[in-house]
Structures are given as C-alpha cells and as structure tokens.
C-alpha cells in the first residue's frame, strides 16, 4: 500500500478510495448502469404487453422481468443515485472535508456493489427472482426447487446492511461534522432531506431484515413463519414488508425533493420560500410515513377499524407534502426564472409528482382502492411518483451538479431535448395506465385477452416507453460528448447559493481550502450579495474568490483496499448460503475473507504518517473489535481515527484563517462562536423536538 494519500492510480484508485466524492461517483455510475438494465427489462415488458396475447417472452420470463425491473429500479437505481448525491454533496453542503467514517463509507458502497451484482447474476444462474418485488408469502416460499427467491431475500438483505451502515455514517456526519457556526436549521434543504432519509432507513430496514431472514429460513430450514397450513401466517410478511416498504417510498422521493428545493431558488434568483416549513414538512412526512403501511393491504382483510384508521393516516400525508408543493410555488413566484435544464426537470417534477400524489390519495379511499388495488391504476400512481417524481428530480440534480463534479457543463440544447423527450414519453407511457387500471387490467399479468378493451392504451404506453428510452440515450450521449466538448464551468456556473459553489470545479480533494465559518443559511449567496432595505438583492462590491488554494497541507484519509475486501467476503457468504448445504464451504471461506478485511482494516492507520505530533494517531488501537460484522460497531470503532484526522484538518483550516485575518475578522469570529452556542441550543431543539416526551419518561425512569 502506498504510504501517502492519492498515490494510487487508475482502477486501483477507485477500488481503494475513501474519498466521499469518488465514492459518490461510484454510486452514481453504478446507478446509471443499473438504470439501463432495469430500463431494458421494462422495455421488454412493454413489448410483451403492446398487443393482446403477446408472445415476445414466456410467462416465466415475464415474471422474472417485472420482479427484477422493480428490484433493480428501487434498490439499484434510485437508492444508489440518492446515495451518490448524498455522498458527494452532504459534506460539501455542510462545509466538511469528508463524512464521519470514510472507510465505513467505502465498505457501504462495496457491499452495495456486490449486492447488485449478486441479484443481477441470478438471471444466468437458474433464473432471476419471480415473486414480485414485494415477495408475497406463501408464493415466495412455494417453489424451493429453484433458488430464485433465495437470491432475492439474500440480495435485499445485504443491500440493507449497506444502507444501514451508510445511514449511521450520514447521521453522525450531520451531527458532528457541520462547519463551525452552522446550526441544523441552517443546513441546506438537500442535506436535511438526506438526513431524514437516513433515519427512515435506519428504523425501517431492520424490520424487513428480519422478514427476509424469515423468508430465507422458511425456504431453506423448513421453519413455519409464513406457512398457513403449518400454523404460520402469510399476512405477517405483508406487515413486515410494508412497515419497511412505505417508509422506503419516502426514502426514494425525499432526496429528489431536496434537490428540487436547491434548484428552484437558484434558478428563480430567490431564497426558498418558507424554508423552515419545507424542512419540518420533510420531518413530518418522515414520521407519518411510519404510520400508513397497511394502506397496501386494504384488500387483505384487516378489519374495518384498522382499514379506517390507515385510510385517514394515509390521506393526511397529503398535508405536509402539499406544504412542500405550495412553498415551491412560492419560491418561483415573483422570482426571475431561468429555464435552464435543471430548472425544467424541477418544474416537471412538481407537475408530475402532484399527479402521482393525487392518485395516491384516491388509493387511500379504501372502497375505491378495492377496485384499484393491484391494477395498472396503481402502476400509474407509483410511476408518476417514482419516475415523474424521483427520477425527474435526480435528473435535475445531475444537470445541476454535473459541472461541480466534472468541471464541465452538460450541453443545454441537448439537455432540453432530453427533458422534453422524457416528459412526453413518460406521460405517454404511464398516463394511459390510469385508464387501463380503472377499466379492469390487473398488474403482474404477462398478457391479456382480446375483447377487454385494453388494446389501444397498451400500444400507446409501449410507444411512450421507447420515447423514454430515446431520451435516456440522448442523456448518455450528452454526458459522453461533454467530456471533450463540454463548456468549462468554473466554480459557480449557476450563481448558486450554497457552499458547494464556494470551491473550485471539479471539487478539489480537500473540498475547501479553509473550513468556512457559517452565520446564515445560503452562506455562499450572502457572501456574494446583500439585501437593500426593501430586501432586493444587491451584489457586494468585492466578490469572494472560490478558487483559493489551501495555505496549509491537509491530511486526508489514505486509500484502503480492506473495505472492498471485506465486502467481497460478504458476497461469498451469501452466495454460499444460496446453495445449501455444500455452499456452506464457500460461506466459510467468505467469513474468512471478511474477517481478514476487517482485521487488516482495524490495524491500518486511517491517515498514514500524519506529521501532526499534537495528535498521536490512535488508529492502530481503534478497531480491535472488528472481528464482528456489526456495522454500527465498526462505525464507532473507526470513528476515532477519522476524527483524529478531522481535527488536524479543522486546525489547519483555522490556523490558516487566523493568520490571514485582520482585527475585524477576529471580532467576527467571537460573534460566530456566540452564534455557535445558541446555534446549538437550536440544534438540539431541532433534532430532539420529536423526543421531548421521551425525555420525560427517561427522567421518570431515573427518579
């Protein structure tokens, strides 16, 4: 291993990187590849359904296709895409040099990578999962001759482990790594939504993790969890899945909402309207998202009391979501709107998400839902929120942040083609599905007979799907040609408001030459502008320079191949578990590899030869306990090293700052410190407002 940071080159540099930016790019690249995979699956689905009695694929192949299409799009496209933006921009948005636990971050990515590989491999190893992305019992347990649903349960399991690790990492990062002075409420909205998402995953994934273990055990050890005839209960699975599944859908949409909340202000030259309300509605959605899961079970026979309760909780999620929509309208209202591609995608997001949301509310009307459930009307609903919402939002983010990541702008003219093609194709594909569903076409059907009146709209939908494919191809072309022909962006191409634009493009490895001190939200905008007495924006005479070089050397975490190695070990473990009993040999080897990776990791210093005598690098001692696969524990374990490192950075920054500073600035600093204090009172109120009553209970316990 190279002694100093960033010596490794080429592929190896990517395998061993612990830089949150590179890991973010890895997530993003994987997401795009899987988007094409899941998209091609979708195109085959559409071909099969274009005409009645379609004969493009067999029923068996079709069931694998729609199951993997959904699994891919949800777990291997939207989640990693959100993870990509969070990884790359969360530290930048909060003025940090990295996440709290860089190597844990790498481990999360590599586990995700092998999880995706594992699921996709199944196509070539006796067939892909074919029980629907919801894997309903007892169907998922019925055929144990094939290993398809074993791939599904183990694949989702390991992807979940990766997400929990990442969530712990992001939550800790937000709590401890914010730039000095930045209160929670001053965090950019995207950072806030990523923060809420981390909590949603943290509390919903362990539930489905248990469910997935139960599926695996039922299939392989003959346990009776979901075996109705053995005394078990298939409905239990539906609860466990949707207790995770519904929070999950907000996991998919909140990051997009965060992106839109960053893009709209920038391209309206106006701050986000009702910032605090947008943030709190996000938190509210997070909380309420845990109280509606049974709306996926309205035909399962929960009994009228439960059905009525969940109908009401479900409806009222529309309220905080509406608050967001209306505040976005308030943001562009009275602004000066530039229709750059990111803005187009954001406005498209609002328009399309509202449609999907409204159809969602019609689902909450239980009697009506007994007609809509498991029909194409539901398929229409969730594609309007997932594609019209999440995907359009993520594309907005791609066009918005591409220059910060690559240093070059994506071509605007091609971008507009991309948007309009996708917008039209999307509505052509999924708009008709509303009619199909209400006219009686169930989902998950490999074909439909002539004479039910489904022919016309299905053909339209298929044509639309190919328009979408074309738009995606246009995007890929735009991305490729930008690498050479793209216009050089400069640090702040959009006249941005938040900290990521306060450093040069592409982002330097150290993120910021000096760790900024934060007094307000939209700190970068306030560095460039002031408001006159009527509140009009006025450019400051002296503009800040984002392209400063660091005045002291900054120590960053060294590359390490141990995270990737440990992840590979886990891959071997689950692969072995598919093929019991012989596979146990492979699993055993996997355990060995995993332990090797974690042990090597625990003895490897995070920053090599840190000259900083003031901070004895404690890494060697940090991770003795990594014999375990306890994500949280590792988190805790390698935190120390990272923090030791973060300290050196912090000081480097500060010293540099103080050296160059004039008298006035020092006052300013004191002022900041005070801000810092009250800031933190807010901090805790902000974060803990939820838990106050818990607080009391706890005291009660003590006395």
């Amino acid at each position: 291993m190279s002694a100093t940071t960033h010596e490794a080159r080429g592929l190896w540099a990517w395998v061993t990187t612990t830089d949150h930016k590179k890991i973010g790019i890895l997530y993003g690249g994987s997401a795009i590849v899987f988007f094409i995979v899941g998209g091609v699956e979708a195109l085959i689905i559409r071909l099969q359904l274009a005409v009645p009695e379609g004969a493009v694929v067999s029923a068996d192949a079709y069931n694998q296709l729609f199951t993997m299409h959904a699994t891919t799009m949800v777990f291997l496209v939207l989640m990693p895409a959100a993870a990509a933006f969070t990884n790359y921009f969360l530290p930048l948005l909060i003025g940090a040099r990295d996440v709290a636990f860089p190597r844990l971050n790498a481990l999360s990515y590599w586990i995700f990578f092998f999880g995706g590989l594992f699921l996709t491999m199944s196509f070539f190893l006796g067939g892909a999962p074919d029980g629907g992305w919801t894997g309903y019992a007892p169907l998922a347990q019925q055929v144990t001759e094939t290993v398809r649903m074993d791939y599904w349960s183990l694949g989702l399991q390991i992807l979940g482990v990766a997400s929990v690790m990442a969530s712990i990492n992001f939550i800790t990062t937000v709590f401890v790594m914010r730039a000095p002075g930045m209160t929670l409420m001053q965090m950019p909205v995207f950072a806030w939504m990523a923060f809420v998402v981390a909590f949603l995953l943290l509390f919903s994934l362990p539930i489905v993790a248990v469910g997935l273990f139960q599926v695996y055990l039922d299939r392989n050890l003959g346990t009776l969890f979901f075996d109705a005839f053995g005394g078990g209960d298939p409905i239990l699975w539906q609860h466990l899945f949707w207790l995770f599944g519904h929070p999950e859908v907000y996991v998919l949409i909140l990051p997009a909402m965060g992106i839109v909340s960053e893009v709209l202000p920038t391209f309206s030259r106006k701050p986000l309207f009702g910032r605090a309300f947008v943030i709190f509605s996000g938190i509210a959605i997070g909380f309420m998202g845990f109280g509606v899961w049974a709306h996926h079970m309205f035909t399962a026979g929960l009994g009228p009391v439960a059905e009525a309760t969940f109908a009401i909780t479900t409806m009222f999620i529309a309220v905080p979501t509406g608050v967001k929509i209306f505040n976005w309208l308030g943001t562009i209202w009275g602004g000066s709107i530039r229709f750059a591609t990111p803005m187009l995608f954001s406005l498209g997001f609002i328009a399309m998400f509202v449609i999907g949301g409204l159809s969602g509310v019609t689902h909450s009307i239980v009697p009506a839902d007994t007609q809509q459930h498991d029909t194409y009307y539901v398929v229409a609903h969730f594609h309007y929120v997932l594609f019209g919402g999440a995907v359009l939002g993520l594309f907005a983010g791609l066009y918005y942040w591409w220059p910060k990541i690559t240093g070059r702008l994506l071509d605007e003219r091609i971008g507009k083609w991309n948007f309009w093609m996708m917008f039209v194709g999307f509505n052509m594909t999924f708009g008709p599905m509303h009619f199909l569903g209400l006219n009686g076409m169930p989902r998950r059907t490999y074909t439909y007979p002539r004479g039910l009146g489904f022919e016309f709209w299905n053909l339209i939908a298929t044509v639309g799907a190919f328009l979408i494919a074309l738009s995606v191809a246009i995007f890929l072309w735009n991305a490729i040609r930008t690498r050479t022909k793209g216009e050089i962006a400069g640090a702040d191409p959009w006249d941005g408001r938040t900290l990521e634009w306060a450093t040069s493009s592409p982002t330097p490895v150290y993120n910021f030459a000096e760790i900024p001190h934060i007094e307000t939200e939209d700190a970068w905008w306030h560095a460039k502008y002031t408001e006159d007495d009527e509140g009009h924006a006025v450019a400051r005479p002296i503009q800040p320079d984002p392209d400063l070089a660091p005045t002291t050397d900054i120590h960053l975490p060294s590359p390490s191949y141990y995270p990737a190695l440990a992840a590979f070990g886990m891959f071997l473990i689950i692969l072995g578990l598919v093929y019991l009993p012989l596979g146990l040999v492979l699993s055993g080897a996997g355990v060995g590899v995993t332990l090797w990776g974690l042990f090597g990791w625990s003895l490897e210093p995070l920053t090599k030869e840190s000259p900083d005598a003031g901070h004895p690098s404690p890494e060697e001692t940090t991770e003795e306990s990594d014999g375990s696969e306890e994500s949280g524990d590792e988190g805790a374990e390698d935190g120390e090293g990272d923090e030791g490192d973060a300290q050196t950075d912090g000081e480097a920054g500060n010293e540099a700052g103080d050296d160059g500073d004039e008298q006035t600035d020092e006052d300013a600093e004191d002022a900041e410190d005070d801000k810092g204090d009250e800031g933190d009172k807010q901090t805790d109120e902000g974060a803990e407002s939820a838990g106050d009553e818990d607080e009391d209970e706890d005291d009660g316990g003590e006395s």
Binding site: I171, L202, H239, A690, D694, E695, G701
Partner: protein, 100 residues
C-alpha cells in the same frame, strides 16, 4: 474529553456493585412472583414493571445514558419508543392483543 459532557459525577466502583445487587434482587423477585399462585392475576403487569426497571437501570447507569447529552438519549429513545407503537398496531390487526 467524554467527561466534558457529564454533569452528574459518574458512579463509583462501589455504586456499580450496589446497582448489581439491586438488579439481582429484582431478577429474583421476578422469578419468585411466577411461583405464587395468589399473584397469577397480576403477574403480567408485575413482571413488565420489574423488567422495565432492570432495563432502565442498565441503560441509565451502566450505559451512562442518564449522563449523556439529550442528543444521544433521543437517538436511542426514538427507536425504543417506535418499536412498541408500531408492533402494537401490527399485533392489534391480528387480534393478538385483544385475544388475551
């Protein structure tokens, strides 16, 4: 550095032993009540309270949660509170809670 966050003095070694004795006594009591037919009607609530007491003691003193800042308290408590609420609802739809 950890001390910086502590407001009440940490327990001493002696305190820890005392706490252990308390825990042991409660455990004994728990087992004891299950053998008393007279208490069979109230045994469930009794056990739950005693279990909860042990739980709080370990979390509060041995895990020092009562000495930590609210942030950490609440990070843990959100999960702790959410669990019974969510699964209370689930078991309700199965009629388990009413059942007995």
């Amino acid at each position: 550095m950890a001390e910086a966050t502590h407001h009440r003095p940490h327990p001493t070694t002696k305190d820890y032993w005392k706490i252990a004795v308390v825990l042991a006594v409660i455990t004994a009591a728990e087992v004891w009540v299950t053998y008393i037919p007279a208490l069979s009607s109230v045994v469930a609530p009794l056990l739950l309270t005693m279990g909860a007491a042990k739980f709080v003691i370990v979390v509060g003193w041995y895990m020092h949660l009562r000495y930590e800042e609210r942030l950490m308290k609440n990070l843990f408590l959100i999960g702790l509170i959410a669990t019974p609420i969510l699964f209370g609802a689930v078991l309700f739809t199965f009629g388990v809670l009413i059942g007995d």
